[in-house]
């Protein structure tokens, strides 16, 4: 699969390193899904109706997708980018009316036993559309019109998916901010985002422990006063500092309000559990604890293939989908995790390298789109299983069971690899 010879041009193959890393990750995923859904120490048994069997069918579909892309003309990708985007937007609107509800979210089209989640494909379409837009001759991520159009390209599907009540998938679209940084989004905006997250977390901690807003105000005033004192010769700095302090104070109050008045109880629970503000051995806290137990039980070399009791006996929730990383951690231990991280982050690094060697903005933006989406998923998903990020239900790309996500990520990666193959 790695050496698909398509033409006699300069780069006759898809990037070998990426393809191999992809193949290894998908195989690890299949093994993990098989293990997560079998009995302890079960002898090998396989059927296409089992979950692992269905994953294998999905993988078969992914191979067809890869072959199709490999033999397709690269111009099609560019040509149909907007069309694909428009189609994805339509599907995501349609699913609001025609979709079936799965655990509270209306984000699935059901076809008999199988389902398709249009939000997964919206990621691909959005990455393509933004790449296409920013790749258009004469357009850069600068100027109000361009910025607004770029932002609407990914905020539109994000809002639609929020409307589907699939918060996790919607949040993924925030990763496009990361993409835009490469295209010139000022660093201070991202830094502000980080600053706001710090303020928000601080406020939530205070809110949950009953500390008054006055403390926030006091701390902010003190910080601002210090900066103003040491930079008193720089007028601009003083103005900026005062502005930031005032904005932060307003934001802090807003977060406090949103946290107590807008967020639902279970959402607050998730956040508080991760911030260690709450001990809960039932429900969500139980799930998180079980997830940590699963990974912790793996120790150095793991409990062995098919020997992970945590992940097979239903202690860990969503053991073959969102929490699939627990199976890797429990059965293969720290050694397995190191290998897995090596492969995964290896792929991310590789894609950055590929993106950087693109001669077109289209290729580069698409590459960064791919890597940022993947990174966002990995960071959120694994962070959630090891208890440092609140539970947000998004899959681990290539590993979690599920056709929509596997196909969408395959499509995403290989469209870019195809573009990379034909780079000039």
């Amino acid at each position: 699969m790695a050496r698909i010879n398509t033409s006699r041009e300069d780069n006759p193959v898809l990037d070998t390193v990426s393809v191999w890393l992809y193949v290894l990750l998908v195989i690890i995923g299949l093994i993990s899904v098989y293990s997560a859904t079998s009995e302890v120490n079960q002898t090998f048994q396989f059927s296409f109706s089992s979950i692992a069997g269905r994953q294998l069918i999905w993988i078969g579909g992914a191979v067809i997708i890869i072959l199709t892309i490999a033999f397709a003309n690269v111009a099609i990708i560019d040509y149909f980018a907007y069309g694909f985007y428009g189609f994805a937007i339509l599907l995501n609107i349609a699913v609001l009316f025609l979709g079936k509800e799965v655990s509270g979210a209306k984000s699935w089209f059901g076809f008999g036993g199988f389902g398709i989640q249009p939000s997964e494909f919206a990621k691909v379409a959005t990455a393509l559309a933004i790449a296409k837009y920013l790749g258009t001759y004469g357009i850069r991520f600068k100027g109000t019109r361009n910025v607004v159009i770029t932002m609407s390209l990914f905020l539109t599907p994000m809002l639609l998916i929020l409307a589907q009540n699939d918060t996790g998938s919607a949040l993924v679209f925030l990763s496009f901010f990361l993409v835009l940084y490469r295209e010139g989004l000022p660093g201070w905006i991202l830094l502000s985002a980080v600053w706001l997250i710090v303020i928000a977390i601080a406020r939530i901690v205070m809110e949950a422990t009953g500390i008054s807003h006055l403390w926030t105000m006091g701390t902010l005033s003190l910080l601002a006063a210090l900066i103003v004192y040491f930079g008193r010769k720089n007028r601009q700095l003083i103005i900026a500092t005062l502005f930031v302090a005032a904005a932060s104070a307003v934001f802090s109050v807003a977060v406090g309000f949103a946290y107590t008045k807008i967020l639902k109880g279970y959402q607050r629970d998730r956040i508080e559990l991760v911030l260690n503000l709450k001990q809960d051995t039932r429900n969500m806290g139980y799930n998180l604890e079980q997830s940590r137990i699963a990974i912790g039980a793996g120790q150095f070399v793991g409990r062995g293939f098919l020997k992970g009791t945590q992940t097979k006996m239903g202690f860990v929730p969503e053991q073959h989908t969102d929490f699939i990383f627990c199976t890797i951690g429990e059965e293969w231990g720290f050694v397995g995790v190191l290998v897995f991280f090596g492969l995964y982050f290896g792929l991310l690094f590789r894609i950055v390298t590929l993106a950087e060697r693109q001669s077109t903005a289209f290729g580069r933006v698409l590459g960064y789109g791919v890597v940022c989406i993947l990174f966002f998923h990995v960071a959120i998903n694994i962070g959630m299983t090891i208890g440092i990020i609140p539970v947000i239900g998004i899959p681990l790309p290539f590993i979690s069971f599920g056709g929509s996500s596997l196909w969408a990520f395959t499509l995403l990666l290989f469209l870019f690899l195809k573009v990379d193959e034909k780079r000039r």
């Binding site: 009995e39 302890v40 490469r182 079980q290 990974i295 690094f349």
Partner: protein, 611 residues
């Protein structure tokens, strides 16, 4: 055109940072904290006990006494028992709806406790010891009742109808025991009395453990093979009792329709050959689902069938005690075979009179035992404690008391049965309290003839007979002959306990005991021709009614094989009931396989009722 090329390092840095932070957190979970593996094991492993068979109990000749039968407990996991058609369930199990809710409430409570301990899953016994009908009915219908399951265990099956008091019975582990010993689970059967109780630790065997995987909903997900916790159940080792069950059964038939007790001991080993109490009960009453009900009935039965007189009942030893007094007299140097005392219808001292039956007078030591002269022993008693060797009566009495205690009297013998009574050898303190500080020998003279404050269990009486047979020592009487293939016998049943009376004097007393069944003896006419029986009758005054009929004996004189004590409550003279019963049992034991010499006597004893 590309102004931000260097920003790629921000991405690489961000990815690396996240990877690093995550790896550190995973390192903490997997390597630094080693509690998680145990937590995972506690989550998923359920240890299910496998019940072993209890020991099979045989008598000394290898006759099967007690074995096992498969029984079933109905187990429920309350959290899963949802939507049960209670009416149908009760119909099938033949229980009332009230019972159902009562059982379920108990099970729920136990289930909670167990989950708290995190040792087993939350299942608990709903009903134990199902009847055959209940078992087959529920087995067919289990699928209708989620959360219910049937767990096998074994219960006792008795091959014999007698021996109830020495075998003992099983009962469900008490709350106290459950709290004390984690080996037991609610509903487990444990030995409550008898051999079953004393040797519980051996007889119960060793429970096995089957570990199974269980998922979050406590549903079993297959056996955990090669698990370190797995172990097979080990059946209790074969238990050989010292009882001669043929003798036991024979004795029980003699004591039928009477109230009393028989204890027979093999003197050389201390092995108990027979331990009989009447009234008694059929041990088969206390098994299976009828156990609790039968037990309640037996408990309130005014005839006290559960009462183990042989070790719990205390009686004044009456004239049988004269043998011991004579031995002590010899040891104290105040009695020789040639010592004679006259008897004029009793012992007279001032206003005090201890009556005696008419007999030739005077008598020597041998004669005094043969005809059981009261006057002789009153004189002897005074000679012992008023001995000028001793400064006063209390030091004299102290010497007597010390001798008595060396016969195992006034304290528990240490028989391998629970609840043994100490009996009573009055202490000086007791006598002070009863008679005032300045008592004299004449005031406690009834002790001379085994009356008054002196109290013995039938076991102690039989042990006295064994001591005389052994000429000065005994081994603590016991019901165990050997446990398991190696016939293990606890060390305490190998040790000889010596009395303070020298071996030299025993023959003098035995000479007299040989006279008892001979012409002129108190039990003449109850003897067995070809066996030299050495014995002593007793008639214990009983303030509550008719005298108790007592008899101790051993036989044959040379190399004694059996020592025996018989008490028939309210039976009157020792020679009337106790002596024939003991002698017939001696014959049964020593002349096994021969025609009984005294079919008339046998028939009379068997068919008589004594109340």
């Amino acid at each position: 055109m590309d102004l931000h090329r260097n920003r790629k390092f921000v991405y690489l840095g961000l990815f690396s940072l996240v990877a690093l932070v995550y790896l550190i957190q995973i390192f903490r979970l997997q390597i630094l904290d080693d509690h998680y593996e145990q937590k995972a094991i506690n989550n998923a492993l359920n240890k299910i006990p496998i019940y072993p068979d209890r020991s099979i109990i045989y008598d000394r000749n290898g006759k099967l006494l007690v074995h096992n039968i498969a029984m079933y407990d109905l187990i429920v996991f309350p959290a899963k028992a949802k939507g049960i058609d209670t009416a149908q369930f009760c119909e099938i199990m033949k229980i009332s709806g009230e019972d159902y809710h009562k059982y379920m409430a108990t099970a729920r409570e136990n289930s909670k406790k167990r989950q708290k301990n995190n040792v087993f899953n939350g299942s608990a016994v709903f009903m134990s010891n199902l009847s055959k009908e209940q078992y087959s009915a529920i087995q067919e219908n289990l699928y209708r009742f989620p959360g219910f399951s049937v767990e096998p265990k074994t219960d006792r099956l008795y091959a014999v109808k007698g021996g109830a008091h020495m075998l003992g019975y099983l009962g469900e582990a008490s709350k106290k025991l459950l709290a004390k010993d984690p080996y037991y689970r609610p509903g487990d059967l444990v030995g409550v009395t008898g051999i079953e109780h004393t040797y519980e630790a051996y007889i119960r065997g060793v429970k096995g453990v089957k570990t199974v995987w269980q998922d979050r909903t406590y549903t079993e997900r297959g056996e955990a093979k090669d698990n370190e916790f797995n172990s097979p159940a080990q059946a209790g080792p074969d238990f050989y009792s010292s009882i001669d069950f043929d003798l036991q059964e024979f004795g029980e038939s003699l004591l039928a329709n009477k109230r009393g007790s028989v204890v027979a001991i093999e003197p050389s080993t201390g092995e108990i050959l027979a331990l009989i109490n009447k009234p008694d009960y059929d041990p088969n009453l206390l098994v299976g689902e009828a156990r609790a009900r039968s037990f309640r009935q037996l408990l309130i039965d005014p005839k006290k069938p559960l009462y183990n007189r042989a070790i719990k009942g205390v009686y004044p030893p009456g004239s049988t005690f004269k043998t011991v007094m004579a031995l002590i007299g010899c040891q104290e140097g105040v009695l020789k075979p040639s010592t004679t005392h006259g008897c004029s219808g009793g012992y007279h001292l001032g206003s005090l009179t201890v009556g005696c039956h008419p007999h030739p007078s005077p008598t020597d030591l041998k004669g005094s035992i043969g005809i059981s002269c009261n006057a002789y022993y009153c004189q002897l008693f005074r000679d012992i404690i008023d001995n000028p060797r001793y400064p006063n009566v209390k030091t004299g009495y102290a010497a007597l008391e010390k001798h008595l205690r060396s016969f195992g009297l006034g304290s528990k013998l240490g028989v391998d049965l629970p609840g043994e009574n100490k009996g009573n050898v009055p202490t000086i303190k007791q006598l002070d309290k009863r008679h005032g500080k300045s008592w004299k020998s004449s005031m406690i003279i009834s002790l001379a003839i085994g009356q008054g404050e002196i109290l013995l269990t039938p076991m102690q009486m039989a042990n006295c007979a064994a001591i005389i047979a052994n000429k000065g020592w005994f081994i603590t009487p016991h019901l165990v002959k050997g446990i398991g293939v190696k016939k293990y016998l606890p060390d305490e049943f190998k040790k000889k306990h010596y009395t303070t009376v020298s071996e030299l004097y025993y023959d003098w007393i035995i000479n007299g005991m040989e006279m008892v069944t001979k012409p002129g003896g108190t039990a003449f006419g109850t003897g067995i021709n070809d066996i030299v029986i050495c014995s002593k009758t007793g008639t214990a005054q009983n303030p509550h009614g008719q005298d108790h009929s007592l008899y101790i004996a051993f036989a044959p004189r040379e190399k004694p094989k059996i020592a025996i004590a018989v008490i028939v409550e309210n039976g009157g003279y020792g020679a009337t009931w106790a002596a024939p019963i003991a002698n017939l049992m001696i014959e049964n034991y020593l002349n096994r396989g021969k025609e009984p010499q005294r079919p008339d006597m046998l028939e009379r004893i068997r068919t008589s009722t004594v109340n």
